[in-house]
């Protein structure tokens, strides 16, 4: 009797568990382990590119290609719900190119028109903030240069001032 109950209960729990969790897994967003490492590497590359761009001399910065804006645009692209990879909804794809997962209509419609406008606005915003940052650096360089020129002109004019002083010193002593 005990054996029958134990076996029946275990089998029922096991079969129910297999069915329930198979269903739940198939309706969840499943990632493959290792994707985090890839994102971290991409983030490091972005930070490095930003640092490289900042290290450029200010004169070489005007008219730079907006690499950061392109990256922001890439990051805002829709991703597959299952494998998390970038997808291009503009091609009217109904399935993921990598895992074959069918896109839900909500996600596709959300990403059709507004995403283009939003990405354009974000691109413009990113470009403007980027150029503003670089202009600030340029103005700081100009300011430094002006101060340096002032200092140089002052140093050049010092001997003349000394000569003038020497000329007028005897007169002052006579008085």
């Amino acid at each position: 009797m005990f054996y029958d109950v134990l076996i029946f209960a275990s089998a029922a729990v096991g079969i129910a568990g297999v069915f329930v969790y198979s269903y739940k897994i198939s309706h969840s967003r499943v990632y493959v382990v290792g994707i985090v490492r890839e994102k971290a590497a991409a983030l490091n590359q972005t930070v490095k590119r930003e640092q490289d761009a900042e290290d450029l001399p200010a004169s070489a910065v005007l008219g730079v290609p907006s690499a950061i804006a392109i990256e922001i645009r890439e990051a805002k692209k829709p991703r597959c719900e299952r494998c998390g990879r970038l997808q291009d909804f503009s091609e009217n794809r109904s399935r993921c190119r990598h895992c074959g997962h069918a896109f839900s209509l909500e996600v596709a419609s959300e990403n059709e028109q507004p995403s283009e406008t939003e990405s354009r606005l974000e691109t413009i915003q990113a470009e403007q903030s980027y150029s503003l940052k670089k202009h600030e650096k340029l103005f700081m360089d100009f300011d430094k240069r002006i101060r340096q020129l002032e200092r140089e002109s002052l140093v050049q004019s010092l001997p003349k001032i000394e000569d003038n002083r020497k000329q007028y010193e005897p007169l002052e002593s006579v008085q």
């Binding site: 089998a11 969840s28 493959v32």
Partner: protein
């Protein structure tokens, strides 16, 4: 599926292959009590492989699925043992008499449920795992 994927799914099926080729065909033993546990074990190992490669944020569905499959393997092992005792008794008179026992059905239903669920999940998620592996390998090669 690539050769590597076939190897991944084929290696855990070795106990099943040994039961069929060795115990049944070579030694001529009765395979009925021996087949069910390797079938369940095959599914269990495939699920463990998937469990170590897949990640669902804030959920432990893969772990619970593996535990459920383990439970099914346990039921299969116990009932197969009892089925073996029945087969070695005088009451056994062929496949039909074995199918009349509860142990036979518990053993094979549990084994097949666990195995089929695992193989289904493997077929579904293995392409993703392979793609990710290829990307990781390419990244490692680039770094080197």
């Amino acid at each position: 599926m690539s050769l590597e994927s076939w190897l991944k799914v084929g290696l855990p099926a070795f106990p099943l292959g040994f039961t069929i080729l060795g115990a049944w065909l070579y030694w001529g033993d009765n395979p009925l009590p021996l087949l069910a546990p390797p079938i369940a074990f095959w599914g269990l190992v495939v699920l463990v492989y998937l469990f170590t490669n897949l990640y669902i944020p804030d959920r432990r569905y893969t772990l619970f699925l593996t535990i459920s499959a383990t439970l099914l393997w346990l039921v299969t092992a116990i009932t197969s043992h009892n089925l073996g005792r029945f087969i070695s008794s005088k009451q056994y008179g062929g496949l039909i008499s074995a199918m009349a026992t509860k142990d036979f059905w518990y053993a094979y239903v549990c084994a097949l449920v666990g195995c089929v669920a695992a193989i289904k999940q493997f077929i579904r998620y293995e392409p993703m795992i392979v793609a990710q592996l290829e990307q990781d390998r390419a990244a490692v090669n680039t770094e080197e």
